[in-house]
């Protein structure tokens, strides 16, 4: 069924035999696992290769690597201040992983790792757990002041639960945003791709009309490339903002 737009998101085992069993559950090597390995290896190789010459006047590849470094460092510095830079490796890893996942997903016929809620939610949980651990490590029990806004006492009975819910919302909104963006874009591409096939097979004047959705696909593809970068950026900047709150509580530097 080439016309099912959701088929591209199916997680399929690539090797029939399960690799191992954990608590009775078979663990398969899936297309998702393969793409995640490719993404990780590719981003590591890209950065290593790009920086291997360490030229004073950078080549194109090297300046791409330097640009991504400076982009994330600048973002972290402006959102979380000087002491936020300790978390640069963390944020940079997340940014590169999401960026490469999104871009590899744009290759026709491949698989988009970030279109799986399991992956994005794992990433978002990692971010929030880091924020909680950092917050408690830095401020001790005083980290809980994050949930107490400056307000008169009677209002606090209302505001503290709201702040608490708003904090618990973060891993969900963070993961759903990335996953939904990827899912929506790729579904849209597949749906218009289906139109091309249907119209092209209809014969006569309709076959000529199939050029219209084809042109649209090209345009959407460009938009999706932008979205792929933007969503990696949004994920990383929100990580920075949450880290900033854990580091500085209410007092913004």
């Amino acid at each position: 069924m080439a016309l099912n737009p959701m088929e591209q998101f199916e997680v399929k085992p690539l090797i029939e035999q399960p690799l191992l069993h954990i608590a009775g559950h078979p663990i398969f090597f899936t297309n998702q696992a393969l793409l995640m390995i490719i993404v990780t290896v590719a981003s590591a190789l890209f950065l290593t290769f790009a920086m291997s010459r360490r030229a004073l006047v950078p080549s194109r590849t090297q300046s791409m690597a330097e640009m991504s470094y400076e982009f994330v460092a600048g973002m972290l510095n402006s959102a979380a201040g000087e002491d936020g830079l300790k978390f640069f490796p963390f944020v940079f890893t997340i940014f590169m992983f999401v960026l490469f996942s999104n871009f590899f997903g744009m290759i026709p016929g491949s698989f988009t790792v970030t279109s799986q809620i399991a992956v994005t939610f794992a990433l978002a949980s990692l971010v929030i757990l880091t924020v909680i651990v950092v917050g408690f490590a830095k401020h001790g029990i005083g980290f809980l002041r994050l949930f107490v806004p400056h307000a008169p006492l009677p209002l606090l009975f209302l505001l503290v639960p709201i702040e608490l819910i708003s904090f618990l919302t973060r891993p969900i909104s963070l993961s759903v945003r990335l996953f939904a963006n990827m899912l929506a874009g790729h579904t849209m591409l597949a749906v218009f791709g289906g139109f091309v096939v249907l119209l092209g097979g209809a014969g006569g004047i309709l076959s000529v009309l199939s050029l219209a959705p084809m042109a649209l696909i090209v345009a959407i593809m460009l938009l999706e490339l932008l979205v792929a970068f933007l969503q990696a950026y949004v994920f990383a900047i929100l990580t920075c903002i949450y880290l900033n709150e854990a580091l500085h509580l209410h007092d913004h530097h």
Partner: protein
């Protein structure tokens, strides 16, 4: 990094910064697509409602487990609180986006509860 750089080095650094600023790689927030903004608001709102509802449902379940039957009360209360948190999240997101568009870079919008 040495604690005190010679003055000439610092001058050079300043001139380098200026030169780089001229050819600046875009470091501020890239423009958001409208769909991105819409997704941002929608997820903030829906996620807060879901979390609020689930939290209330959990409180009800926990109390019911200990023999106190409150069933829909906390679900309703926390659902409403979730709605409030969702609106707050959308307002915060809007502030962040506005701050980004005003060219101040991706800095955090100040908390609105201050003052």
């Amino acid at each position: 990094m040495p604690a005190q750089d010679p003055q000439s080095l610092r001058d050079l650094g300043k001139r380098l910064d200026e030169a780089q600023a001229k050819h600046a790689v875009r470091k501020t927030a890239p423009p958001q697509t409208s769909m991105g903004i819409a997704f941002r608001f929608a997820t903030e709102l829906v996620a807060a409602l879901v979390v609020g509802g689930a939290f209330g449902w959990g409180v009800d379940w926990l109390l019911g487990y200990f023999g106190i039957h409150t069933r829909p009360v906390f679900l309703i209360v926390f659902f409403l609180l979730g709605a409030a948190a969702g609106i707050r999240g959308v307002m915060r997101a809007a502030q962040e986006i506005n701050a980004g568009m005003a060219g101040q870079g991706p800095s955090v919008a100040d908390d609105d509860e201050e003052g």
